[in-house]
Amino acid sequence: MWRTIARRLLGAIPLLFAMSIVVFSLVLIIPGDPAVTLAGENATPERVQEIRVALGLDRPVVEQYFDWLGGALQGDLGKSLTSSRRVSDVIADRLPISLTLAGSAILIGLLIGVPAGIVAALNRNRWPDRSATVGASLGVAMPNFWLGLVFVLVFAVRNPWFPASGFVRLSEDPAGWLHHLVLPALTLGTAASAEITRQLRGALSDVLLQDYVRTARAKGLRRWVVVGKHAAKNASIPVVTVLGLQFSLLLGGTVAVERVFGIPGLGTAIVDAVLGKDLPMIQGIVLLTTVAVVVINLLVDVAYGLLNPKVRA
């Protein structure tokens, strides 16, 4: 097992190095010049050039890249071009908010998706299955920014049960935190629950037709023991894959949902950074997100090993 993890970790190094080049290069193709943006509305071309030189943007790209990479390896992602803050400080402030949102969405996805998937698999081709399948299709099809707007209109504007925007930290006010989290987490969690329902239904339906399940039933085991103990473990492998993918997708999904709900997370930070051409901030956040996706994939691999001994071999 440990050898598998070590192998995966070693494999991640060239991947991250390649990603660092892609991340750095991405900002070079973003339209617009950060010096122009920073120079403000009344700037002369001379002033723009002064700012370009002051920021080191006139240096060769390779030199800029290795400077940035050297800093990043030491945990220094540089300083924002548009404020006095360090990129790492901004990420430290904002990341917990986005992780909370994505984590809550996964929780909602599991709370809805697991029971719905099991019910659908146990009632294949009957009305609970069809309802779950239709619901899951809708959940996957609805864009989260649209769903978020609908939730806001119904549950914040028309019926003022939840706040339409904003975020409260758990440490400041636990009740306010939960209150502000419900609508955005439901918005993000709907697609996740739909995907989990679909995958679990498919996997469990297949497993329930296997010989060992029939044998277990023939032995007289209770139905919930057969499903919960024998079938669910094997059916959970594709669900774990989906969970890993969903977490990565949810991190991306927070960009739209944070915008709709005015939440000051990492998604809002990157939108502001792109609009303000804040290159170090864009690079820092994208790099961090890339690392997060690599780590999540690694965890998924480890989970495979735990669930299926064949993978460890």
């Binding site: 006095s84 803050r85 029971p115 339409a164 709709v260 939108v271």
Partner: protein
């Protein structure tokens, strides 16, 4: 099977209960305090009380404010809380509460005393200001001439200062006495008082200059004292108990919520999280029908087709005039802007020094036949085409598409090129990649600033640098002239040239609808682009 169904049903019920349990009062909503209100009859006081007719008009109803209230306003992103680093006019909404300027201006755009009580040009290159005494910064530092010298020197020489250009005309700033400052100019600049009424004239505590996080921890003399800035969420202030005009400060706490998305900001207002915010024109009718109040404030800026007059086809005045007559401005303001904007053919709005009352929209009438004739006179009866940049904002695109359809009717093919907001300066002004940009212009309070930026041979917002000797003469004379009546004549002459020569093709003045819930008093915009003036704005006492 039945047990399974029951279990699943129970799961959904439990989730429903969890969601329901999270309901109730909105802890994030601004609480209008129920504490006994101190009733204050609002008088027509403004900064210094001089020429403040317009502000007086807005407050003569003598409403009763809840002085313990928290007022919450919604605004888009803020770039910096350091006035020398802030990049857009919209940042002023966040800066005005905490920073006074040397010179203030009222809702009509007239200068009124701020931290300077009086100012005058003693000769064309010497400007003197008499300062308000007894004022202290929020950190206790006294405001005096030394503080003004320190601020202006920092603003005009600071390595990162973005107001350096506006103050480049200053040669030297000296403290004559604790309450008197002398500014020596390199050349005449009658625009200086209005330059000092914007970010370049905002006074920070000199002690705060050494704070490495000064852009997030502002210290001024303003009516509200900075409390906290949470990135992407809120900037919060509390009342400055020592403010020199306490009647202007109507709330105990001011919160400006940072909400970048227009729809999210609108929903925050509609759900009661905001007391006021600015909204898109398309939202006005619905807001009014649901009990919200909307003040549509016509502003200094305008929306126009800005032309590069040194590039074909707009190097030909006949083509420019043809475009002018091919556009039905009234149809655009009615059809696209819900009749909430005022059409114009001249560059300055009513009330501004450059406004020429003789130049009416009807003088440049919508006349497709005349447009076709002008094109034929230019030798382009077979038609002409050009590229035009427009920033990727739905409202801007809608206006431009309306223009595109009108121009097509007279044989002018307009190719719309949609670009990112940050690209307009490099693509249009610097690299001159197209002869046209369909774009808003924020405007400047002093017409000489606009002429210098957009119509002089050195103007940074004049692509191609096309100008005429007479325009340069008007600019030079107006900068040296301090008699406002004489300047007015000069600027009105410029406006006539602008219309006759179709220097640019204006569509309408910019107007911003400010929406607020019932019970909010004094909402107004300044004579500027969208900054919200919190002075004398508050919540009605219950």
């Amino acid at each position: 099977m039945k047990r399974t169904r029951n279990a699943i049903a129970a799961s959904f019920v439990a989730l429903g209960l969890l969601v329901a349990a999270c309901g109730g009062d909105d802890s994030g909503t601004t609480s209008e305090t129920t504490a006994a209100a101190t009733t204050v009859a609002t008088t027509a006081t403004t900064a210094g009380g001089a020429t403040t007719t317009a502000q007086a008009t807005t407050t003569t109803a003598a409403p009763t404010f809840d002085k313990n209230a928290t007022f919450t306003y919604g605004e888009g992103a803020v770039t910096s809380l350091d006035p020398t680093l802030a990049r857009t006019l919209y940042d002023n909404t966040y800066l005005y509460p905490v920073f006074d300027r040397l010179v203030h201006y009222d809702t009509s755009g007239s200068t009124i005393p701020g931290l300077a009580l009086k100012w005058a040009f003693t000769d064309p290159t010497t400007f003197e200001l008499d300062l308000r005494t007894g004022v202290v910064f929020h950190d206790g530092t006294p405001f005096d001439a030394a503080a003004v010298v320190a601020n202006l020197d920092r603003s005009r020489t600071g390595e990162k200062s973005l107001v350096k250009g506006e103050l480049a005309v200053i040669d030297k700033v000296e403290a004559v006495s604790p309450a008197k400052v002398k500014v020596t100019l390199k050349s005449p600049a009658a625009t200086l008082p209005l330059i000092l009424a914007d970010r370049a004239g905002m006074m920070m505590s000199p002690k705060s200059f050494t704070d490495p996080a000064v852009d997030r921890n502002p210290v001024g003399t303003g009516m509200y004292q900075f409390v906290k800035y949470v990135d992407g969420d809120v900037v919060e202030y509390k009342r400055n108990e020592k403010y020199w005009n306490p009647d202007d400060v109507k709330n105990a706490v001011l919160r400006i919520r940072i909400i970048g998305d227009d729809a999210a900001r609108l929903n925050a207002l509609r759900s009661g999280q905001l007391d006021a915010t600015w909204v898109d024109e398309s939202a006005v009718a619905n807001l009014k029908s649901t009990g919200f109040k909307v003040e549509v404030i016509s502003k200094l800026g305008l929306f126009h087709l800005q032309l590069n007059r040194n590039q074909a086809p707009f190097n030909n005045p006949l083509v420019r005039r043809a475009v002018n007559h091919a556009i039905d401005r009234t149809a655009i303001t009615k059809g696209v802007l819900f009749d909430l904007a005022i059409p114009t053919v001249q560059p300055f709005p009513e009330g501004n020094l450059g406004y020429n009352p003789a130049l009416k929209v009807s003088d440049v009438k919508y006349d497709p036949a005349l447009a076709k004739k002008l094109l034929a006179d230019a030798g382009l009866s077979g038609g002409v085409s050009f590229n035009c940049f427009v920033v990727n904002t739905s409202g801007y695109i809608a206006r431009t598409e309306a223009v595109q359809a009108m121009l097509a009717e007279v044989g002018i093919k307009m190719n719309i090129q949609i670009i990112a907001g940050g690209d307009i300066i490099p693509k249009f002004y610097q690299n001159q990649e197209a002869p046209c940009a369909s774009t808003p212009f924020g405007g400047r309070l002093d017409p000489a600033q606009t002429i210098g930026l957009m119509f002089s041979d050195t103007g940074s917002l004049n692509p191609g640098k096309g100008t005429t000797p007479r325009i340069l003469e008007i600019l030079k004379t107006s900068l040296a002239e301090t008699d406002q009546a004489k300047r007015k004549t000069l600027f009105q002459e410029f406006s006539k040239i602008y219309v006759d020569e179709a220097l640019n093709i204006p569509l309408h003045y910019m107007s911003f609808p400010f929406a607020h819930r019932d019970g909010v008093l004094g909402v107004k915009g300044l004579f500027d682009v969208r900054p919200f003036d919190i002075r004398n704005v508050g919540v009605k006492a219950r």
